[in-house]
């Protein structure tokens, strides 16, 4: 007899705080993500305070300075070459990859799939981009870039598609299969660039690094110089990806199918939607975004693939999970969450963080903790609501 619908409907007549916030969330409100991030930073600050005894505020301030965002503040003056500007370029470069991997995770999410295989898809993307960038020397630059980026997206799509096919045909859980695909991609790519591997640069001796891509395949710069890892046009690709993401989801039949399957696969099947096909497509498209992220990094600022990049830096794709979750899988949300995490990463990097204030190698781990806290808190909206309602007993909600 308990009709969940009726209870909620009539709740609308006499809205409680929790109900209003729940409504705001459904409408893509910012209250809860904002509090979530704040709460995570607060808890991260407590960690700093208790473990190191340092002042969390000054730590965060140092991290903020490291992000280069202070370049935007009118009262900050800047010498030449402006370190804040350089940092900001770094932040935006990281934003490019994070927005793309965030979109990747979010797209699968909207289909009800948890793609934690962004790392593997990113890696195969970098491999494809490097290879394409090495081949076809002398091709017109635009064409060459398109070819390399396209190949990377395709490779990512293929890698994600494997998990999609397994999910659609035998029902293998995408979390396990994508994790396994991550490790497979990692070791295969490692093999490719290590000494004796087919992609290793013989000119580099025994060093595990590929040949560099040809000049023509590199993305044009927007800001700064190539030598100092300036900001490349990949930023626009990321922004375009956010727009494409929104359009595909909300304005195309494909997006409609993906969302229907994500909300209720049985109803989708009843409506005539091919659920298996949607799973495959969602994973493939998700993988394509992650692969594209890899391409942007290779074509934009890291023209050769080496072992530390494959085994270490590629973890940036993992952070896409936190970006998508904090951004509530909306384009605007991913934009801001991507910016936040990009800032956190550059701000706490060895290069930018003032070691007097906080040891950079620890700051990196601190970001991981904050990331974990954010995912945890985003996953449990009830907690945020609970804290907002400050002690009043939480009524049951959203139950059958």
């Amino acid at each position: 007899m308990t009709e969940p619908g009726s209870a909620r409907a009539q709740g609308g007549e006499r809205p409680t705080l929790a109900f209003r916030i729940a409504l705001a969330q459904r409408a893509g409100g910012i209250v809860s993500p904002f509090f979530t991030a704040l709460l995570a930073f607060f808890m991260g600050g407590l960690v700093v305070l208790f473990v190191t005894g340092k002042n969390p505020l000054s730590t965060y301030e140092a991290i903020f300075k490291g992000t280069g965002l202070n370049w935007l503040l009118p009262w900050e003056t800047c010498a030449h070459p402006c370190s804040a500007a350089l940092s900001l370029q770094q932040t935006l470069i990281q934003f490019t990859a994070l927005a793309l991997t965030g979109v990747a995770v979010a797209f699968a999410f909207r289909c009800g799939l948890f793609n934690i295989g962004g790392q593997g898809q990113y890696i195969v993307g970098t491999v494809a981009a490097v290879q394409m960038g090495i081949w076809f020397q002398g091709l017109p630059s635009a064409l060459h870039i398109l070819l390399a980026a396209g190949a990377a997206a395709l490779a990512g799509a293929l890698w994600g598609g494997i998990a999609g096919v397994l999910k659609a045909t035998v029902g293998a859980h995408e979390v396990i299969s994508t994790i396994m695909l991550n490790w497979i991609a990692l070791w295969v790519a490692s093999y490719l660039v290590t000494f004796g591997g087919p992609m290793q640069d013989p000119a580099a001796g025994t060093e595990a690094v590929s040949r560099p891509i040809s000049e023509g395949a590199q993305l044009p710069l927007l800001w700064g110089s190539r030598l100092l890892q300036g900001l490349h046009v990949g930023l626009f690709v990321a922004l375009a990806a956010l727009l494409v993401y929104w359009l595909v989801l909300n304005r195309t039949t494909l997006g409609y199918e993906v969302r229907a399957v994500g909300f209720n696969p049985e109803a989708a099947a009843y409506g005539g939607i091919d659920v298996a096909k949607s799973y495959f497509l969602a994973m493939a498209i998700s993988g394509a975004f992650a692969g594209l992220a890899g391409a942007m990094d290779i074509l934009g600022w890291r023209p050769r693939l080496d072992l530390t990049f494959v085994q270490g830096y590629s973890q940036i794709a993992f952070i896409g999970i936190a970006v998508a979750l904090l951004g509530r899988n909306t384009a605007v949300g991913i934009f801001f969450a991507g910016l936040l995490f990009a800032a956190l990463r550059t701000g706490s990097s060895t290069r930018n963080l003032d070691p007097e204030v906080f040891r950079p190698e620890l700051a990196n781990n601190l970001t991981e903790i904050i990331q974990g806290l954010i995912i945890l808190l985003v996953g449990a909206e009830t907690l945020v609501l609970y804290l907002l309602k400050s002690g009043r007993r939480l009524r049951r909600r959203g139950e059958t």
Binding site: G5, S6, F19, R26, I273, D274
Partner: protein
């Protein structure tokens, strides 16, 4: 039998859910050795009240007394300790475990305090069953036994916990009329041994058949408690609904045309690869309603799913308007003009997190005018949705409202609007009124009759015999995956009931 000693009293029970008062100051009591029926429509608050008694809900106000002493139940464990047992409408049994394991769960006989003594459990179940005259196999897995047997396991579960008061929530909804009267026998046996029974139902005839006293609830309030003597179906119906109720649906005489849906020797497997539909043949003509009666789980769900393209049959043919649609996808079936009201609107009929507009285009989102070449046109969709919502009188929201925000009746109206709005030639309606209140039920019935008038072929699958009897022009009875009888609309309920238990294997030509 019934004495005046009160074993259970409820005083002024109030239970609120966000925005709804499910129970509003209800008084209710149970005497030793009586069957006390709790009568009311869907949503009247019967189950909520009993969940309060069973410790699943805590009342916002009021008091529960057992044997004259006030008690507070924090969980079912407390209720069980005070001798209260409950048989839920959806059985609380674990399908993969055995009957004995289900019965002793949480009060297991053990050796050395930890090791489960399965032998003792089996023995105890046997003793208990024979003491009350039940036949159950303690080692059978619950998923392998019939629904009627599962219900007995539920009752044994309560008896094993030494219940004095047994609450049964809509116990006959899954039973045939014969099984129901067997259940009534069992209940009488229990009351003779001094137990008390609370019998929750919305079926008037059953309440009159089994109860000593009857309490009627309407919209969370108690209307009255009366003795069975002198109560009639009409008077109870008036109390339950608050107005005169039309017990029979008005419909013009049938004028069936050519057959639009033909099914030949269809065989369908369920998810566990068991054959649930075993060679079914029938047809539905334009302008007639064919009802399929039967106890739940006799293959009706699988049959409808196969007809709707959601389940691939292993043998046989489905012909829709002259075209062989056997094994075609749901999309193809929908596109040749089949509408389908699924049996579970929350699980399948609606995407609750979609807006009403998005739900209304669930079948046609990829066609003009909703979209072209994969591009959606939100304005056209919203206009189309607004028009449909108006035509089908959906209240409580507009095209942009989330489906989850509507009441059950309005949700079902949205489903009907979608299915009928695309002007199908054939309508498959599976339990279209389940869980609805009287007003919504009348609406659904009118729509089905209207579809018939418009020369659509309507296949109605329902567990409610009354619904089938009042709507169908021809009635097919399904038992264990076969059609075991075909009847005209004048058939007696008893006759259908016998067929529903497989009692008469002879197929009677209509």
């Amino acid at each position: 039998m019934a004495s005046d000693a009160l074993v259970l009293e409820l005083r002024g029970i109030t239970k609120r859910f966000p925005g709804v008062v499910a129970n509003d100051g209800i008084d209710f009591d149970v005497r030793r050795g009586e069957v006390h029926a709790l009568l009311g429509e869907n949503g009247a608050g019967k189950t909520t009240l009993m969940n309060v008694v069973y410790g699943l809900y805590r009342p916002d106000a009021g008091e529960v007394r057992v044997g004259g002493k006030p008690v507070v139940f924090r969980s079912p464990r407390d209720a069980i300790a005070h001798g209260i047992g409950m048989v839920h409408q959806h059985f609380m049994l674990i399908p993969v475990m055995t009957v004995a394991e289900n019965i002793v769960l949480a009060k297991e006989p053990t050796q050395a305090g930890v090791v489960l003594d399965y032998e003792a459990a089996r023995k105890r179940v046997r003793e208990l069953a024979s003491a009350f005259g039940f036949v159950v196999d303690p080692d059978a897995r619950v998923r392998d036994i019939t629904v009627g047997q599962q219900q007995r396991v539920e009752i044994l579960k309560a008896l094993y916990r030494r219940a004095d008061v047994l609450i049964l929530d809509e116990p006959t909804s899954v039973l045939t009329p014969q099984e129901a009267s067997e259940l009534f026998q069992i209940l009488r046996g229990l009351t003779e041994q001094g137990m008390s029974v609370v019998f929750i139902s919305h079926k008037l005839n059953e309440v009159l058949a089994v109860a000593d006293r009857i309490t009627v609830l309407r919209r969370g309030r108690k209307v009255a408690t009366i003795s069975r003597q002198g109560a009639t179906e009409e008077s109870l119906a008036r109390m339950m609904v608050g107005r005169e109720v039309l017990l029979r649906v008005e419909k013009p005489p049938a004028s069936p045309g050519e057959p639009l849906l033909e099914v030949h020797d269809l065989r369908v497997l369920d998810d566990r690869r068991l054959e649930k539909v075993r060679g079914v043949s029938f047809h539905v003509r334009a302008g007639e309603i064919v009802g399929i009666a039967g106890v739940d789980g006799n293959g009706q769900s699988e049959l409808v799913e196969a007809l709707a393209g959601l389940r691939r049959p292993v043998a046989g043919r489905v012909v829709v308007a002259g075209r062989d649609m056997t094994g075609r996808s749901a999309r193809e079936v929908l596109d040749v003009g089949v509408g389908h009201v699924p049996e579970d609107r929350l699980r399948r009929g609606l995407v609750l997190d979609f807006t009403l507009a998005e739900n209304l285009i669930l079948h046609d989102y990829d066609k003009e005018p909703c979209s072209r070449l994969g591009w959606l046109f939100p304005d056209r969709i919203l206009r189309w949705a607004a028009e449909l919502l108006r035509r089908f009188d959906v209240r409580g929201g507009g095209p942009r409202t989330l489906a989850s925000a509507l009441s059950g009746g309005n949700q079902q109206k949205v489903v009907l609007a979608r299915e009928l709005g695309r002007e199908p030639r054939i309508l498959l309606a599976a339990q279209p009124t389940r869980g609805l209140d009287v007003g919504a039920i009348e609406f659904v019935h009118r729509q089905l009759v209207e579809a018939r008038v418009q020369a659509k072929a309507v296949l109605l699958v329902s567990l409610e015999l009354e619904e089938i009897l009042s709507l169908a022009d021809r009635i097919l009875v399904m038992y264990e995956g076969r059609i075991v009888g075909e009847y005209g609309p004048e058939v007696q309920e008893e006759e259908l009931g016998i067929a529903m238990t497989g009692g008469r294997p002879v197929v009677e030509a209509a």
